[in-house]
């Protein structure tokens, strides 16, 4: 394990550790990091974790693919479903899901529709998003963008595509968001979670080679850093071996 740990590998390991045996979960459109995390969890401590809810169950891809909506990644899987069953899953919910967007704000809300302007007269139009329900029908979700800048971490998103904690506990209650919502955020720089009282984002740990000041500098809102921030635990030898030798043999996470 001489090669340096890549930012994506660090993200994968952070996510994998939080997935429990026996859970049901899936990843959305940008699936490289989430699917690697799920695979690592299944490999190490969660053999009964089921990948499901996105029209396929328990794929066994030969390598990692950036999109899981790819038959190459699904040629070997246990079952396929259609959008009718996805309709049901979206209502019944999963244990976990993953999201990321153009903008993420201090309360974990995610914007994929537009930056600037209005929906129908946008300054910059985004892609939109398909599944808006897993964010709250599922027990929890993770935010895992592969960029971390002041442009994609903003105080308030211009449009709430995927609701996170809205403006805090009271707003969630009014909107009927009764589940946990975003549990934490992992980026190439750090792990951020939410203050249980206010549900506002805060810095939980910084990855090796990064600093709290740097994270704050690349975040468009105040993280309220007042004390020493711990370092994100590094991948263990076991995690790295499983990841590199059995899941990501082609080194996609290090590319």
């Amino acid at each position: 394990m001489s090669a340096a740990i890549s930012p994506l590998e660090q993200m994968v390991v952070v996510l994998a550790r939080d997935l429990a045996d026996g859970e049901l979960g899936a990843a959305g459109a940008a699936a490289l990091v989430p699917m690697a995390a799920i695979a690592l969890a299944r490999e190490l401590h969660a053999p009964n974790l089921t990948v499901g809810g996105e029209m396929f169950f328990n794929p066994e891809p030969g390598r990692l693919y950036p999109s899981m909506l790819d038959d190459r990644a699904l040629g070997r899987c246990e079952a396929a479903e259609t959008f009718i069953e996805l309709f049901g899953h979206s209502h019944h919910g999963l244990e976990f899901f993953f999201h990321s967007g153009l903008q993420h704000d201090a309360y974990g809300n995610i914007n994929l529709h537009h930056v600037g302007g209005t929906l129908h007269a946008p300054k910059v139009r985004g892609p939109g998003a398909a599944n808006l329900s897993y964010c709250h029908t599922s027990t929890r979700f993770y935010i895992c963008p592969t960029l971390h800048t002041t442009r994609n971490f903003v105080e308030k998103v211009d449009f709430v595509t995927i609701p996170g904690h809205l403006s805090g506990p009271e707003a969630k209650r009014v909107a009927g968001l009764t589940n946990e919502g975003p549990r934490f955020v992992v980026t190439p720089r750090a792990v951020l979670d939410f203050d249980p009282a206010t549900l506002r984002m805060r810095l939980k740990s910084v990855h090796a080679g990064h600093t709290a000041a740097e994270v704050q500098r690349h975040t468009g809102f105040d993280l309220g850093i007042t004390q020493n921030v711990p370092q994100t635990p590094l991948p263990t030898e076991e995690e790295l071996t499983a990841l590199r030798e059995r899941i990501d043999k082609t080194g996609t996470l290090r590319a």
Partner: protein, 312 residues
């Protein structure tokens, strides 16, 4: 006897241009066009090019909840007025012409979610006046989504959502195989919403990689994904989904889509020449699919996409 003809079962096999004209004429009555597949897989792109070549305008585009290349191309060709697709992206990058046209106010892209689109197709396929939805909360999409409304649930007493039937005037599908009667077989692992769309639509036109003998269908009816009853016309089009994938026959042509997106980005930055040339070369120029295959690199180039499906 006078006027008597030998009665035989009619084949639904037709040519790409005939299919495109039938679609265009139907869409003049009502411009709701729905596209099968999802993102870069199983998209009926040859039919889309055919429709653009015979001059469709003012279309309202539906799809399974995620689309990219084909919708962007239709927008680039000036054929689209409204988009009813929750997610429009090339996955590894954004859709340049979609974004430019929406930002310029030339195309209305509605804010929708997957359940609205799927629920609307379900209501249409099931023949009921609406589909209840009870999983939408907190998103700004709910403030704009034109297809749903809030209703009082007669069972739970709560306010929930409902969507009326989405009934495409025409749906284009791409499957791997069909018989001459129009029974479709998707051999790909993922079939997405193709079966639902077929049952939700007024007219269904399918492209397939190949027409198979009747016996192939009869020997394994469980493999038929869309019975011919739902299909109005079927066209055999080699590489008919290109540049999207038709698994397990050929993979997506990611280089082609990337090159297209580069031209779209250039157009977005003000230089449309490359994009116009692309449309002339690949959409309006080729006189048939054989010709198209030559313009995108020829049979040898495309054979690499076949090989790509066997990796993984």
């Amino acid at each position: 006897m006078e006027g008597q003809t030998t009665l035989t079962r009619r084949s639904k096999v037709t040519g790409l241009q005939d299919a495109a004209r039938r679609a265009r004429d139907a869409l003049r009555e009502r411009p709701d066009l729905c596209l099968g597949g999802l993102f870069k897989q199983g998209r009926p792109v040859a039919l889309v090019r055919g429709l653009l070549a015979v001059g469709a305008k003012g279309l309202h585009i539906y799809s399974s909840p995620g689309a990219g290349y084909d919708v962007d191309l239709m927008i680039a060709a000036g054929a689209v007025e409204q988009v009813f697709i929750p997610g429009v992206t090339l996955e590894n990058r954004l859709c340049p012409n979609f974004r430019s046209a929406v930002e310029a106010g030339q195309v209305t892209a509605h804010a929708l979610d997957a359940l609205t689109v799927v629920g609307g197709l379900m209501a249409s396929a099931h023949g009921v006046p609406f589909q209840p939805i009870d999983a939408l909360r907190g998103s700004d999409v709910l403030k704009h989504n034109p297809l749903i409304r809030e209703i009082d649930c007669p069972f739970s007493g709560r306010r929930i959502h409902a969507v009326g039937p989405i009934r495409p005037r025409v749906t284009f599908l791409h499957a791997q195989e069909a018989d001459r009667w129009g029974n479709l077989r998707h051999l790909s692992t993922m079939v997405y919403a193709d079966q639902l769309m077929a049952r939700a639509s007024d007219m269904v036109i399918a492209s397939v990689d190949r027409i198979v003998p009747d016996e192939v269908i009869l020997d394994d009816p469980s493999r038929v994904t869309v019975p011919s009853h739902y299909v109005d016309a079927v066209v055999e089009v080699p590489y008919g989904a290109h540049p999207t994938a038709s698994f397990p026959n050929y993979a997506m042509d990611e280089d082609h889509i990337d090159a297209y997106a580069d031209l779209g980005d250039a157009a977005r930055a003000g230089d449309r020449a490359g994009l116009d040339a692309y449309i002339a070369r690949h959409v309006t120029g080729p006189k048939d699919q054989e010709d198209y295959i030559k313009t995108v690199g020829g049979a040898e180039y495309l054979a690499q996409l076949n090989a790509e499906t066997r990796k993984g």
